[in-house]
Amino acid sequence: MSATTDQIPEAPVESQESVRRRRAARPKGPRKQLDSTTLIYLVLIVVVAASAVLTGIEGRNFFSQGNVWAVLTAMSVLGLIAIGQTLVILVGSLDLSVPYVVSLATVIAAGGMMGLDSNISAAVVNTLALCAVIGLVMGLLVSLLHVHGFIASLGIGLVVSGYLGTNYQGSHGAAAPDLRLLGRSGIAGWIPTAFIVLLVCAILVTLMLRYTRLGHHVYAIGGNRDVARMSGVRTATPVIVAHVLCSVLAGMAALLLLSRTGVGSPTIGSQGRYDLLSIAAVVLGGTLLAGGKGSVVGTIGGVAIFAVLDNVMGVMQVNPFLKDFVRGLVIVLAVAVYARRSVVRRPPRFGASRPVLPVPSSMGTSTKGDQA
């Protein structure tokens, strides 16, 4: 876990020399430095402990069967979207269209199913294919037309939202009973199926990032697109794949949502503010917003923190408007705790002789400074 977050496109076999040099380059502070993934899980443990205490004060048990189920369910939708967002951010792009893709997917899937089990497979395939096409368009815009991911996805999101606003008013269609059953099923009443879907996707994407050529290219391009291109990497493919996967994962998240709500809704995505929250979760999980560094494992930790916070605020019956205030505060504070460290701690890639510039770092700096 720590190895991945340290060293970006890690070659499977590393020479003794480079390992030694990398270890030597590590800052030797009096206390052992933690990498951001470990840190995010420590923060998660603190948040869970605090939540357990707060829930206990309210006279409820945080670790009760129902509550664990609720937290894991809450994690699954944002988690799937955040996995896709991690991929897109790792490759140096951004996806602001997810809420609209989610909304579109719910209405298309619900409209396709019309409450009949026999329509499930066709509706699911249709929905995911549509999402893939949307992702493909975005990927092509970003990789071939060189439109910044922020703008490409914002634009596509607007296009989809215009379509939704024009053609759908109010809820639409109905989920098939089997799908709704899936939303209620789980293992031993503790772990919902939705969470298992999330775990499987997280594992698959992690394996892809670690062990396939494509995954290594994702890190390489996110680190520095030009260096990757000059090293012979075809920069278009990973960008397109990342965007397609992100949109498909958003579509899957929409299906999970549909399994819970039962009807498609053209506003469900924007109400959930999945664009900004998923990006926040990714950054909370230690992924550099500039790309090239981070992991899905960290992202899941970030999503878990959000889910636990939401849960405890729900138990304590915090005013819904005040929830946003707390959420915003937590995002900034949590990222502030380790944002600095994770950037500074990055070992010099070409030996220790490279001078370290005392430059105030930020989103922009980390791109240009660290990957130079």
Binding site: H146, F325, G328, L329, V332, S362, T365, K368
Partner: protein, 375 residues
């Protein structure tokens, strides 16, 4: 105009050679400027203006036109504020929340008390500056990506405002305060009316142009282009960026004051302004990631966007399709701009043949991927 000149000249003042952008007649320079996205947005705005005019000829009458400019003033001012942040290489997503905060403060603090107008204005500007300061310091000193910092401020401020108002319209500022946004000077020759908002817009624009020509303006572009180089050249990067955030929040404050006149006092006023402003700035050819773009292009981008909306209105296209058209236009404009910057920045034919070997490369050749890949 100032932006490009400064960036280029900082690149090669050492060589002492005439730069392609500073030579030639004024007309040639304008022509050369027009092919960059920063210049092309003026042409886009002009085309859209003509399109609106053909759809509705009365739009071109001076009173109508000046009222349109007055209505557009808040988004133009917001876009100019967003410009400082974007050109310094950051984002400001908190703009909409700041506007909402200011509107609610105006509604609840002033009330029907005439004497409170001035203290309220001072309070609003102080709050605006403090929000900008927090954004800036968290971004530069705590090294949290500005996207996340301002997202946090957006959630926190927005949540707080909604919590305090209960999410509904509350309070109603005295009419004299509302006059700032919707009042007009009557009996002006030719124009008939002159909205205060237009005067404020012109003042803010002039101040902005002056600012971008001052050392601060040069530094902010240098910082956005390459913070490391700017820091090594002696710029206080953290303070430059923090000031950019303060300017952005102050612009949002002014936009909020104007919006009180037009819209009511509701916590949802200003919702979406941040993306609207970013869209306008990007439409103005300003590069996300910083270091390139002109202030007035950002303003022109905001005008182009509003003209587009007016055009769609006159065409009687269903308003629900508005976002779709907006999305398509943004993507097309940015795709075109990505090409144009690289075309406009390539060593021109007038430069000596030794240009490629020059030790001080132009920003484009140093970071060709800026427009697209990074950040």
């Amino acid at each position: 105009m100032s932006a490009t000149t400064s960036v280029t000249s900082s690149g090669s003042t050492t060589t002492g050679r005439t730069l392609p952008l500073t030579e030639g007649s004024v007309f040639q320079r304008i022509l050369r400027g027009a092919v960059t996205p920063g210049g092309a947005v003026f042409i886009l705005a002009a085309i859209l203006f003509v399109a609106v005019l053909t759809a509705n000829p009365s739009f071109g009458e001076p009173p109508q036109l000046i009222r349109f400019i007055g209505r557009t003033a808040p988004i133009v001012i917001a876009a100019m504020g967003q410009y400082y942040v974007i050109v310094s290489g950051e984002f400001d997503l908190s703009m909409g929340a700041v506007i909402a905060t200011q509107v609610v403060i105006a509604g609840n603090f002033i009330g029907e008390d005439e004497s409170r107008v001035l203290p309220a204005l001072v309070l609003m500007f102080v709050i605006g500056a403090v929000v900008g300061l927090i954004n800036g310091l968290a971004t530069t000193l705590l090294r949290v990506p500005s996207f996340i910092v301002t997202l946090g401020t957006m959630l926190a401020l927005g949540g707080l405002v909604r919590y305090m108002t209960g999410g509904a319209a509350t309070g109603n500022p005295v009419d004299s305060f509302r006059e700032i946004g919707r009042g007009t000077i009557d009996d002006v020759p030719v124009l008939e009316v002159l909205p205060y908002s237009v005067i404020i817009l012109v003042v803010v624009m002039a101040a902005g142009v002056w600012l971008m020509r001052s050392p601060f303006g040069r530094t902010i572009i240098a910082t956005g282009d390459n913070p490391d180089a700017a820091a090594l050249a002696g710029a206080h990067v953290w303070w430059v960026k923090t000031r950019a955030f303060i300017l952005s929040s102050l612009s949002a404050t002014i936009a909020g004051i104007l919006l009180v006149g037009y819209a009511g006092v509701h916590p949802s006023v200003g919702a979406g302004y941040e993306f609207q402003a970013i869209t306008a700035v990007v439409l103005g050819g300003v590069v996300l990631g910083g270091g390139r773009g002109w202030l007035l292009s950002a303003a022109a981008g905001a005008f182009a966007l509003e003209l587009l909306f007016s055009f769609l209105n006159f065409q009687e296209i269903e308003s629900t399709w508005r976002p779709t058209v907006q999305g398509v236009i943004i993507i097309l404009a940015v795709a075109a701009a990505g090409r144009a910057w690289s075309l406009g920045r390539r060593p021109s034919r007038t430069s000596p043949p030794a240009a490629p070997a020059e030790p001080a490369p132009s920003p484009t050749s140093a970071r060709p991927g800026t427009e697209t890949g990074e950040n």
